[in-house]
Subunit: 200 residues, 2 copies
């Protein structure tokens, strides 16, 4: 049975997710992931540098899709509108990968070292979005602010949707978009000085 490279990659990812869920991330080795996927350990390391990177393979695919939509979004859109144009355009891709993204998110949430790595990947993605906006004529500071603001909203929407699919991802993105706009207008009141927020 000859498997293409892409099939092997997907199988390794699925095997890794299953083993991480069964035994925990720390107690799973690359060799075990390879065995579960029916390939050699050498094949595993031909695809991924270590077991951690199996979980972060999707970021490149996502960024590549976003790149195309940001480059070709209509003229005249404001920076955050360009980003939301692209976020909405990748909804079908994210929906098609939900069966992988959902268990992945549970493992990341349960493993602090992975959560820390995820934040680093998000920061890199925010920076990449900023670079793409600069290609549309946005200058450095607003591009960086848009990249980080957009990425925070995108991460919030996708995380909420992975946790609870009762609300569609496109609707989550709309809520985040409206929520961001209201940050400048909805009034707040001084807190009761007796109350303190919970730690954490």
């Amino acid at each position: 049975m000859a498997l293409g490279d892409k099939d092997v990659r997907v199988r390794l990812q699925q095997s890794a997710l299953n083993l991480f869920a069964e035994r925990g991330y720390e107690r799973t080795t690359a060799a075990e992931i390879a065995a579960r996927a029916g390939v050699t350990e050498r094949t595993f390391f031909r695809h991924f540098p270590d077991k951690r990177e199996v979980l972060f393979d999707g970021a490149a695919v996502l960024l590549s899709a976003l790149t195309g939509f940001i480059e070709t979004a209509p003229d005249g859109l404001a920076p955050l509108d360009v980003l939301f144009f692209a976020f909405n355009a990748v909804v079908p891709l994210l929906e098609a990968n939900r069966h992988i993204s959902h268990p992945r998110q549970e493992i990341i949430a349960a493993t602090p070292a992975l959560a820390e790595r995820e934040l680093t990947k998000h920061a890199a993605m925010a920076h990449a979005l900023a670079k793409l906006l600069q290609l549309r004529g946005v200058s450095h500071l607003p591009a960086e602010l848009a990249g980080h603001t957009g990425m925070a909203a995108f991460a919030q929407a996708t995380t909420a949707w992975l946790d609870d699919p009762a609300i569609a991802l496109s609707e989550r993105l709309d809520l985040a978009y409206v929520g961001l706009k209201a940050l400048w207008s909805a009034p707040t009141r001084a807190a009761d000085a007796q109350t303190s927020p919970e730690a954490g």
Copy 2:
């Protein structure tokens, strides 16, 4: 010479920064930091769990100051206006600590494991800001979005000011504030399809 606890802490931080700058973070031990500060290794570990945490001690002080200003900011301010009210109010504190923050930032920028930890601290700070906004009646989603957006702008402004003090921190914050508002209005244009952004 009897030193108060706070003096010892400051001395350990200053010694750590000096040694990290001289030898690099990886090649400096807690024992060496203690020796440079003129205290025992045991004293070091009474103040900090490990050499990494010496660099992240300021976050609690900063959050405590921000908390007070967010709780007592005038009624009627919008969520991001509350956060910028607090950011502006802590400018004197940040200016007073610049001689520590500046070398600290250079060490963090040069050490990927520390940069990753810094992002985790920023995410925790964004979440704490969100909790404080919820105490002012802001609901969960806009509070989280404001926390992350505000934190991104605050980090951008402080980092730019640490890199180049020719522009005052208060002015950096104003630029970030204006920049955030423009993300909804300044038009962009479709990128030249032949151009690609640099990686990273």
